[in-house]
């Protein structure tokens, strides 16, 4: 087994663009679930509307890139509004079911062959990253010995981590403001907050919109770093993985989602690489009746599922979280 390869694969994923997408999505979920106690299981839907908002604006409507970014973010605000108004007055699991259903509707409609002319069908849309890549100041790829990235990735990384840092700063300052304290108290006891004369519904809606915008940012970044907007990228499992990342790091902590995403991808890519090497026919292999190379790629998901269960049972606050500050005992 070549541990250098494993570390390389794990590190370049943990610090790579995919981890940034997860971090941004999980920062949004942190506002929803960690701070406000809202169960949004449709973060993939927020990402999808933003990503496709951008792609459709540029490719089909020929709008300028900057305007398209704004449109993408606006789409996620609208989605939060449409989802929030009917469901935020209901119990937590109703919001969960409504959001997951909406995300699936969006994925199905965006991928439908009937709307191929507008959304590109199951292949999605591409050809909108030109303006983004034109801004790339780097001259070539970067190789640090243990990790390496291509030139395009390097630019995505710079933009992405700056975005993540700014987002964390925003969340940090918002959550120590009076507004953030109201959100936390809604998570703890909605009725108490209501009796103090606060408009609980309004605050929840604001939280849903803010978290949705972070989801939208994640979606924008995803389509930009990938160069294409593909409907199947925005499936329900994505949201669940983002939850796993959030919970690993610790909900209701500013840096929880970021550390969580890094760790999540470190483990996923590391495990993938280890079991990939154990089945690639290089000598030190597992017998094929135990595991073939197609099965090897599934081990990480088995570990992931089991890990999510154990984490939620034994350490729901994650690595950095505070057990008293987590909404899991709610209702």
């Amino acid at each position: 087994m070549d541990f250098g390869t494993v570390i390389d694969a794990a590190l370049s994923q943990a610090l790579g663009p995919q981890a940034i997408v997860f971090a941004l999505a999980a920062i949004g979920l942190n506002i929803h679930f960690g701070y406000t106690g809202l169960l949004n299981f449709g973060q993939a839907g927020f990402m999808a509307v933003a990503g496709f908002g951008l792609a459709v604006s540029v490719v089909k409507l020929d709008l300028p890139f900057a305007l398209a970014v704004v449109i993408g973010l606006l789409m996620s605000v609208i989605l939060a509004f449409v989802l929030g108004v009917p469901t935020l007055r209901l119990r937590a699991d109703y919001l969960a079911i409504a959001t997951i259903a909406t995300a699936e509707i969006l994925r199905l409609v965006l991928g439908a062959v009937e709307f191929k002319d507008f959304f590109g069908g199951s292949n999605g849309l591409n050809g909108f990253v030109g303006p983004f890549q034109d801004l790339n100041p780097y001259g070539g790829p970067l190789d640090l010995g243990i990790v390496s990235w291509s030139r395009a990735d390097l630019w995505s990384l710079t933009v992405g981590w700056v975005l993540v840092a700014l987002s964390c700063l925003l969340v940090w300052s918002l959550m120590r403001s009076p507004w953030g304290r109201v959100l936390r108290s809604i998570r703890e006891d909605e009725d108490a907050v209501r009796s103090l004369g606060k408009n609980v519904f309004g605050y929840k809606l604001q939280a849903l919109i803010l978290g949705g915008v972070f989801g939208g940012l994640a979606g924008l970044f995803h389509v930009l770093k990938q160069g294409s907007a593909v409907p199947t990228d925005f499936n329900t499992t994505f949201t669940f993985y983002a939850y796993a990342a959030l919970l690993v790091g610790g909900a209701a902590r500013v840096l929880g989602p970021v550390i969580g995403s890094i760790l999540f991808w470190f483990l996923v890519a590391g495990l993938g690489s280890i079991f990939g090497q154990l089945t690639d026919g290089s000598g030190v292999d597992l017998p094929t009746w135990i595991m073939t190379d197609t099965q090897a790629s599934l081990v990480r998901f088995i570990v992931l599922g089991l890990g999510l269960m154990l984490l939620m049972i034994f350490r729901p606050q994650g690595i950095f979280g505070d057990r008293r500050e987590i909404a899991i005992d709610a209702r």
Binding site: L39, P86, T87, L90, R91, A92, D93, Y94, A96, I97, A98, I100, A101, T102, E104, I105, L108, V109, G111, A112, V113, E114, T237, F240, Y243, A244, L247, W289, T294, Q295, L298, V299, F301, I302, L304, G305, L306, G307, L308, M309, L310, L311, M312, I313, F314, P316, A327, I328, D329, A330, R331
Partner: protein, 455 residues
């Protein structure tokens, strides 16, 4: 803490044992990889091709539809040569149809191909119909079989009237709805008594179907026996689930939201284990796969569909009646209504909940098995209809029994009848989900739900 971890072990063991069973079952099934690639050599009677081990392959089944009978869609056409070419006519594979009229041609990779049928090898008296095209263009995108069809002996169909189309859709909708109702009943029972929104419910559906496959194909039992055993195995899984996971979590006082996230983890775990052991392909049981339908009035009905619906109706009726009349049924409803009061009246709340898990999982497993008999088995089948089950249960009113049934039938019909009214077939699942969102908007407690439940 250690104890709780120990409690998880039986569940994982249970799934792993299932895994072992499936893989050994599949080992028997493993086809000889190149069975179909024996190009040129005409297969002897009785020898049938098996899907190749390749990631990509083209599958063709030639059926002479002019000899269609009540029990079969037509007679297979053996001994026909098919060639797959790429680009400017380079042949990349060929094969000859076997006794079942089937041929599988393995390909190196996905891409655009041309499948050519050699009309000279067609038996006497068998002619291509439709536009009589001997080549078909095909793009191989997905791993597994890419099916190519050649029409033989098909009499041009007369346009079907809207009424006939609608009644066929309604029939299919009720059938689909009854299957969803069985699963929904399971979900609703568990939700009603424990308050858990179980995201792993889809995997319980898949479990029923896959364990049925293990008994049927792996151990060679008839489908009906396999079905009975699948329900028994599902009941056992329900018991194991409650004893090994949900029971200990309840005793710990884990919150409902935490349990919901645990169920997401469980769903991920179970689905990956299914995929690990069962593989990514879609398979069928050994019997009742392609039953020729009878025409009953304006609609086409296969025997198996009648049986599926009858079984579903009987099971649903028996469940509802026993929930209303038996002692256990009454205590289930009492626990659902107020666990604390039920406990203080001397009921053993925990064993009632265990009974609910057993009953709920068994019903759900049956739903999965029936769905697999109707369609096929795959590792994502339950995950794919999970949201429809949620929609059905929410529509009827979370936690109500009759609501779940009514909601399921409505969802089944909406899903199947949508295309008749012009909903594109590729997004027919959107209809039920829209119904779900609308009902949350207009009447969140559902059709039969009580208002206090929605909080």
């Amino acid at each position: 803490m250690r104890l709780r971890l120990a409690a998880l072990v039986p569940l994982v063991m249970c799934l792993t044992v299932l895994g072992g069973l499936t893989s050994s079952a599949l080992a028997d099934e493993t086809p000889s990889p190149q069975a179909s690639a024996s190009a040129g050599s005409s297969p002897s009677a009785g020898e049938t091709a098996e899907p190749p081990d390749a990631d990509f392959y083209v599958a063709v089944q030639l059926i002479d539809s002019s000899k269609k009978t009540a029990t079969s869609p037509g007679e297979p056409v053996p001994g026909v040569k098919l060639t797959v070419t790429q680009g400017s006519g380079t042949a990349v594979g060929s094969g000859v149809t076997d006794a079942e009229g089937r041929v599988y041609i393995p390909l190196e990779m996905g891409g655009k191909y041309k499948v050519e049928l050699d009309p000279k090898t067609l038996p006497d008296g068998v002619k291509l119909s439709g536009e009589a095209a001997t080549t078909k263009n095909v793009s191989v995108i997905l791993e597994g079989a890419t099916n190519v069809q050649f029409q033989i002996g098909v009499v041009a169909e007369k346009g079907v009237g809207f009424g006939a189309e609608l009644s066929q859709a309604l029939f299919n909708g009720v059938k689909y709805g009854l299957i969803i109702a069985l699963a929904g009943l399971g979900l609703s029972l568990v939700f009603g008594t424990t308050g858990l929104t179980n995201f792993a419910h889809g995997e319980l559906i898949t479990f029923g179907a896959i364990i049925g496959y293990v008994f049927n194909r792996g151990l060679g039992l008839p489908v009906i026996v396999a079905g009975v055993l699948a329900v028994v195995a599902s009941a056992a899984l329900g018991w194991a689930q409650d004893k090994g996971l949900w029971g200990p979590l309840r005793k710990r006082g884990t919150g409902l939201v935490a349990m919901m996230i645990v169920s997401i983890g469980l769903a991920l775990l179970a689905r990956s284990i299914f995929q690990y052991t069962f593989g990514g392909s879609t398979r069928t049981y050994s019997q009742y796969v392609a039953q020729g339908p009878h025409s009953v009035g304006p609609i086409d009905v296969a025997d198996k569909e009648i049986v599926i619906m009858a079984v579903a109706i009987v099971v649903i009726a028996v469940t509802c009646i026993s929930l209303a009349t038996t002692r256990l049924g009454k205590s289930m409803r009492a626990v659902a209504d107020n666990p604390a009061l039920a406990a203080s009246s001397g009921m053993r709340v925990d064993s009632v909940i265990t009974a609910v898990w057993i009953l709920g999982t068994a019903l759900t497993g049956l739903a999965g098995f029936l769905y697999a008999v109707d369609k096929q088995v795959s590792f994502v089948m339950g995950f794919k209809i999970l949201l429809l089950v949620f929609a059905a249960v929410t529509l009827g009113g979370l936690g109500t029994i009759w609501g779940a049934i009514i909601g399921s039938i409505v969802i089944g019909i909406v899903s199947e009848a949508g295309p008749v009214f012009g909903v594109p077939a590729s997004i027919k699942d959107v209809g039920p989900l829209l119904v779900l969102i609308l009902i949350l908007l207009l009447r969140p407690q559902g059709i039969l739900g009580k208002k206090q439940r929605i909080g």
